[in-house]
């Protein structure tokens, strides 16, 4: 019976995933090259001799060339981008990755490294006929030091699987995000994924202890140390964290896993206005201190469209804004006391209008589920423009009403949600279908606004294919020039993930 209940919960998710697969197969998104008017660079095209060579390295089964087999690897999960790759390679070892890259570099064949393909900026799918290098079969956990918490795993490990593995050993992965059931650790590192608990466990630049990566020419760069401190020379591992596969392909990762919290509590509250959310955040930081592990917000439209589209339960009634607070601690009694004091105080002050709080794993999961599913809920309506920006907290929500006003009835839903603690807001604009008119109203408008407020045009999603020509809103010319020089040094032929991250000229 226990299983029946668990299944019921899982089905809600699965159904939604299946629905997406169905949608994806019915209508193919427009080709990225046409949609965004991109010109193919001067790379070689894959010949049958190349395919044969790949087969000598990987065998027949790990080289996909059939159209039906290759299509899913060409499309990103939000159905925004579609590439035209003819071949997908599935290496099982670093050696194989090295051999493939060395060959492609010599033949000037472009390569698109791919993990779980859950990226939101089109970075993980090809634009033209790049060879897709999918790391899903590199999914072994290499070692875990239970004393230091240092885990070494291959790049293709699915985040949730690794998290389950370390949880059984009283540790957790330092990052958690909505796509955890599909995304891969290598992709997380390559895109410097943020997620739900960055507030507590920090950025990957802090928790990644070491990286093994393969450069465009096939040379394996071994920086796979598990030390917390290592000041010997340049910190090369950081070049592979967040460079989105343009400087090298991450093949193994050493990551520091924090201790599994013994006491976890989740609260979900209704709040009157955004100003009150900021007050509540300030109060949570001082009352909950070191046990605060997540402070998330969502507006009414984000929650109500998720509840409606995915048929998920909303644990509390209708409010203009919602806040999700999570605590991670080592003592239930101690945490409970703190939390109760915080709740009583803020119920009385009126910052919290109503809400619920629970430490039951099943209920906590249901609440998180609602928050995590906001990202995908809009897809039911049609096309979703997604913006992931960092803003100073006092300006955090300003853009949402502005965009609403700008688009008027052209948008079905304009909603904002995200990580208050990190100053990172996600803005989703749902429209019946992609049109250049709406795109023109949104871009570069959104980026200009963000830039004027001293924010970042990409907080955690990266630059990918969608944003290179907007990167200058967040990065100075001098920085971009150095990035170009690094790219030329590490990948002189430019075969690794072309058309992504860096603009053509700066």
């Amino acid at each position: 019976m226990l299983n029946t209940i668990r299944l019921l919960v899982q089905c809600q998710n699965k159904q939604y995933v299946l629905e997406q697969i169905r949608c994806a197969s019915q209508v193919l998104p427009q080709l990225s090259a046409e949609k965004y008017n991109v010109k193919r660079k001067d790379f070689a095209t894959v010949q049958s001799s190349d395919v044969n060579f790949f087969k000598t390295i990987l065998g027949n089964e790990r080289v996909l060339t059939d159209d039906n087999d290759v299509t899913p690897f060409n499309i990103d999960w939000i159905k925004n981008c579609r590439g035209q790759s003819k071949v997908v390679l599935k290496p099982k070892s670093t050696q194989e990755v090295s051999q493939i890259l060395s060959y492609c570099n010599e033949k000037k064949l472009a390569v698109c490294p791919q993990g779980g393909n859950t990226g939101l900026v089109g970075g993980s799918v090809p634009v033209f006929d790049e060879v897709v290098l999918n790391l899903m079969l590199m999914n072994n956990i290499v070692s875990l030091d239970e004393i230091s918490g240092a885990l070494i795993c291959e790049a293709g490990c699915v985040l949730e699987n690794v998290d389950n593995y370390v949880r059984e050993r009283n540790l957790i992965m330092p990052l958690d995000l909505g796509a955890k059931g599909t995304c891969q650790v290598g992709g997380n590192v390559s895109t410097n994924a943020g997620g739900l608990r960055l507030l507590r466990y920090g950025n990957l630049h802090g928790s990644i202890l070491g990286v093994e990566a393969v450069k465009a020419d096939g040379i394996i760069i071994d920086c796979l140390k598990t030390l917390k401190k290592d000041n010997t020379g340049y910190h090369l591992k950081h070049l592979f964290i967040g460079s989105e596969g343009t400087l090298g392909v991450v093949t193994k990762v050493a990551i520091h896993c924090p201790v599994l919290p013994k006491a976890v509590t989740v609260g979900f509250f209704g709040v009157e206005n955004f100003e009150n959310i900021l007050q509540l955040y300030k109060s949570a930081k001082s009352s909950l201190g070191e046990i605060l592990s997540a402070f998330e917000m969502a507006d009414r439209d984000a929650i109500s469209s998720t509840v409606k589209n995915l048929n998920l339960p909303n644990p509390i009634s209708d409010y203009p804004f919602y806040v999700l607070v999570e605590t991670h601690g080592s003592d239930e009694g101690h945490d409970g006391e703190k939390l109760n004091r915080f709740l009583s105080k803020e119920m009385e002050s009126g910052l919290i209008l109503d809400g619920t709080v629970t430490s039951e794993p099943g209920k906590m999961q249901t609440i998180w589920n609602l928050r995590e599913n906001i990202a995908g809920a809009g897809l039911r309506h049609g096309y979703v423009f997604k913006y992931d920006v960092s803003l100073p907290q006092k300006h955090y929500y300003e853009l949402v009403p502005k965009i609403k006003q700008r688009l008027g009835d052209k948008a079905i839903v304009v909603c904002g949600y995200g990580h208050i603690g990190d100053g990172n807001i996600h803005i989703n604009v749902t429209v019946p279908e992609y049109t250049r008119e709406v795109a023109g109203l949104l871009e570069p408008y959104v980026f200009e606004e963000v830039s004027a407020l001293q924010g970042s045009i990409s907080a955690e999603h990266g630059v990918g294919f969608r944003k290179p020509h907007y990167i200058h809103y967040s990065k100075d010319r001098s920085a971009l020039q150095l990035m170009h020089q690094l790219k030329t040094l590490m990948d002189p032929n430019g075969i690794l993930n072309p058309y992504k991250v860096l603009p053509e000229e700066c």
Partner: protein, 253 residues
């Protein structure tokens, strides 16, 4: 107006991975997150809705178990029960506590508290016994409406829609009666903050089985608890002929 008695059991949370003890005497419960049995949550919700619809005057939650059972009772109180009774059963006695014992306790309390309706979950997700409602009805010699997916008040009694194999059965019972809640009876609410705060001040009485004059001597003995067999890994075969050969080899065709 009637008084409703609701039975709630503290079980390992459904989202937790169950681990069997190495000596196969049971499952590991220490340091494992517990919560209210999901079917009992549905039972509490139904009782509270009866009260909200003025079909019931008072909802009394009952739980049998160790000290932590009071947490489960507080959850029931936060959902809207008026008061709670904790029948303390701890240690070795709790390990061998069975539906027959719980049914006797519920029956005795129903009489002491002058309850008109007893609602429990159809089964607990830990031992899956599905016996407590039926046994309670038998001991009290009350009618029973088990696996309820709908409960309505009808003249002088209740109309209960039951989930049965392949469909629904609608029955009428007199009151007093025993109801067991099935999955589709309702969707339990989340306790709201003000109600969680209020629940801390609601009355919770602690008694023992001995106070009720009930003997908890075990009637059955657990011989062994084992993990379900691990599914064997599949393999990819090159062509249909090999598949057919393999199936023949395994005696499947």
């Amino acid at each position: 107006m009637s008084r409703v008695l609701v039975g709630v059991k503290r079980v390992i949370d459904y989202a937790v991975k169950i681990r069997v003890k190495p000596d196969k005497s049971g499952v590991v419960t220490e340091g494992v997150k517990h919560s209210m049995n999901p079917f009992d949550e549905i039972a509490v919700e139904e009782a509270v809705r009866m009260k909200e619809k003025k079909l019931a005057s008072e909802v009394v939650a009952v739980s049998c178990g160790p000290a932590q059972a009071q947490e489960t009772l507080r959850t029931a109180l936060a959902m809207g029960a008026d008061r709670a009774i904790h029948v303390e059963v701890a240690g070795a006695e709790y390990e061998t506590l069975q539906p027959i014992h719980v049914a006797k306790i519920l029956a005795k309390l129903s009489q002491d508290e002058k309850a008109d309706i007893v609602i429990v979950g159809k089964q607990a997700i830990d031992d899956d016994s599905n016996q407590t409602a039926q046994m309670t009805a038998a001991i009290l010699d009350w009618p029973q409406g088990t696996f309820a997916s709908k409960v309505e008040k009808s003249d002088g009694g209740l109309t209960v829609t039951r989930e049965i194999d392949g469909g629904l059965e609608v029955i009428k019972t007199k009151v007093p009666a025993v109801i067991s809640a099935d999955l589709r009876l309702n969707e339990p609410r989340y306790a709201t903050l003000p109600n969680i705060m209020k629940a801390k001040k609601k009355p919770l009485k602690k008694i023992t089985a001995k106070d009720l004059g009930i003997d908890l001597a075990p009637r059955i003995k657990v011989v062994s608890v084992e993990d379900p067999p691990v599914r064997q890994a599949g393999s990819v075969l090159p062509d249909v002929d090999t598949l057919v050969a393999k199936l023949k080899e395994g005696g499947h065709v």
